[in-house]
């Protein structure tokens, strides 16, 4: 055994040696151990608006499972205003009611993808409302109906009970998982980490000269970076050291960074993401914008991959539940409803090599049409081969296999 160990050591050393050769510029910027940055002994980190939106989105997805809630209240949770456009107080958390922020205004709203494409942006914002409406109109009345092909109602998934529409879809899952792309990912990758936002107006000059945002302890560029960070870690138990509880802090991006980290094939990705956020922020302090942009590339790849891995995972899980004997429809529908949301979220990913999403809106819409198109009753009719084909196409655009993501 020690012979093998020696060889391993040799091989590892060589591996590390060859890495060093590619990397002849030693970075002069060092990231701190945690996401803590100060100026004159005052913290310059701020992302409370992101925390607020994660909390609003959480109340919304929980509300969708409350059969006694009014439709208007759910829509107000999404918009944080009444139908007439007036101030609304739909949340159980009073701080959220006071806030003027809303989930809807930041869905499909990134500068890079949607500032000149409000057509799609608006359609996407409205699709979420369609799902919220349909939950109340189609699923709530059938609370005590057994679901079957073409009939909304409840269905067993192991010892859990799921509530699906006539095609087997859980609207609350569509909203939950699609928000991960439409809100969190789009805002992080295509808004706050985009040079159109980071370098907007006089941001570089101001940051170079330590000119602070009016009345704030931070420069505008620092703050934009923090806002990206906040969509991933805004509800972490330790906001400066979030990987201690990664996956346990929300039902959105944080949760699924944690889930992908938990798959041995992708272990290390949580540290990779956090380290890039940290180093990028330190690079801004050090006015090293090349180094900052290198971190943006890392984040765009890694966070896009989180979405893709989960999309493939749920498609594969749904497929195996359908192939079980007897077929386990409840489990399959739950997995595929989650998968639907992650597939939908792919249009908000960002491939740094092309500057575009790994899959366009049209491609994502086609995947979804395939998922629901094997028969008249959507998921009740979907064929395992259809799910396999979508999963294979998604994985092929990334550096992992369906098998790696599937377990």
């Amino acid at each position: 055994m020690s012979k093998y160990f020696l060889l391993l050591l040799t091989a590892t050393t060589i591996f590390f040696t060859s890495c060093d050769k590619d990397d002849d510029t030693t970075p002069s910027v060092e990231a701190p151990a945690t996401y803590a940055f100060t100026r004159n002994n005052e913290s310059t980190v701020s992302f409370s608006g992101q925390t607020t939106r994660i909390q609003m989105a959480t109340e919304l997805i929980n509300g969708m499972k409350d059969f006694s809630i009014e439709k208007s209240q759910l829509l107000e949770m999404y918009r944080n205003e009444t139908e007439a456009g007036e101030d609304a107080n739909p949340f159980s958390d009073a701080d959220l009611n006071v806030s003027t922020k809303s989930v809807r205004s930041k869905v499909a709203a990134s500068k890079e993808y949607f500032s000149d494409n409000v057509t799609d942006g608006t359609a996407i914002k409205e699709l979420f409302e369609t799902w919220i409406n349909a939950q109340v109109d189609e699923v709530f009345p059938n609370e005590s109906t057994l679901a079957e092909a073409g009939v909304a109602g409840q269905i067993a998934d192991g010892s859990s009970t799921r509530y699906v529409n006539s095609k087997g879809l859980e609207y609350n899952q569509l909203v939950n998982k699609s928000l991960i792309g439409g809100l969190m990912l789009d805002q992080i990758l295509n808004n706050y980490l985009s040079t159109t936002v980071l370098d907007e107006a006089t941001n570089i000059e101001d940051n170079d000269a330590d000119v602070l945002a009016e009345g704030k302890p931070y420069t505008t560029m620092e703050h934009k970076w923090d806002e990206a960070y906040g969509y991933a870690y805004g509800t972490a138990a330790d906001l400066a050291d979030p990987n201690k509880t990664i996956g346990a802090d929300d039902s959105f991006l944080n949760k699924y960074i944690g889930r992908v980290e938990g798959d041995a094939d992708f272990a290390g990705i949580a540290a990779e993401i956090f380290d890039a956020f940290k180093l990028g922020r330190a690079a801004i302090e050090a006015k090293d914008y090349d180094l900052r942009d290198e971190q943006v590339v890392i984040l765009r790849k890694a966070l896009s991959k989180v979405i893709a891995v989960r999309a493939v995972y749920y498609l594969a899980q749904g497929k195996s539940a359908l192939e079980a004997s007897p077929a386990n429809y409840g489990t399959a529908f739950h997995d595929l409803s989650e998968g639907y949301g992650f597939v939908y979220s792919l249009q908000f990913t960002h491939n740094p090599d092309t500057g575009k999403p790994y899959f366009s809106k049209a491609e994502v819409d086609a995947f979804i049409a395939d998922m629901l198109g094997d028969g008249a009753n959507g998921l009740w009719d979907v064929q395992p081969s259809t799910l396999d084909a979508i999963a294979t196409t998604i994985a092929a655009a990334f550096d992992f296999t369906v098998a790696q993501a599937a377990e």
């Binding site: 093998y4 091989a11 057994l146 067993a156 009970t161 409840g330």
Partner: protein, 370 residues
Amino acid sequence: MANKSWILLLFVSLSFFACDDDTPDVPDDNFDRTALLTNWADNIIIPGYTDIAQGSKSMVQAAEAFQADPQPQTLNNLRDAWWKVYLVWQRVSMFEIGKAEELGLRDNLNIYPVDTEGVLENISQGNYNLELPSQRDRQGFPAMDFLLYGIANGDAEILEAYTTGDDAEELGIYLIAVVTRIDELLDVVLADWTSGYRDEFIDNNGNSATASVDKLVNDYLFYYEKALRAGKVGIPAGVFSGSPLSTHVELPYRAEGDQTLLLEALDYTQRFFNGKDYTSQQEGVSLKSYLNELDAQKDGTLLSELINAQFESARAKISQLESDFAKQIEMDNTKMLEAYDELQKNVVLLKVDMLQALNINIDYVDADGD
């Protein structure tokens, strides 16, 4: 260059070497899986379901007698009949395959803690459909525990609830609905075994992931791990929650008897491993004989002996517990945790060592939790 590829080759072969370590060799397996499946079906599973289906008929009769005339004697008769069926349930709960799997038999018959608020809502409102998945924790054996022991304080008040209480009539009707549903579900499962599924089960004698042996072994391990180890001991002892949950025991209202149910479950889990005939207790073709034929060993001892010894260690720890686990948890939870640890040791032997020897893959994962 030549040097580099030499190292690369070493590195690659090294990683292959490491991978080989994880994959068990396919056993040189001439084991008679048909005989194994036949012993399971004919001598263990079908006799077990026959037994419980008969018991459940007596329970329905006792419930009807009680409903017609609620008094101490009919109450005790019903309690005895229910208890007898609940014990037999511990012997067959592990066979969640075929119709039982399709129906989710265990989730319909034995989810606990029972949703008492939901039960009371059903009783007062009257329009319930026990076939709905959302109603699973308002029925089954745990609902009976509540209806027979927990609906009021003490036998006198319980009888009052069924005779002069505000919802006396509705309560009796609900009781009948619950026993009838248990009875119907068990009938459907037994009928499926005796009208074709037995042959299908035995004919599916291959060794793929969908073959009967692989599937039932998975169901058996899932049962042992989730329902027996976690459900009966780990969850109430707080293994998964940090602090003990004494209200999550199997019999919160009868109180006495948690230990009896667990021991029954453990006995029959071990009997299944050893292939013991349901009535004669004679050993037949089994997981044990399968492992022995493969000469599966661990640290120089037969794996089957280690597994049986571990069943004994767990039984020894459980025997020291109070009959009422809620009491045990409140008095001295450490003993519960010790019992859990002994049960857990067999998860490793069964799920890792046995499955490797038999070349069976696990087909379930821990639920995603959302």
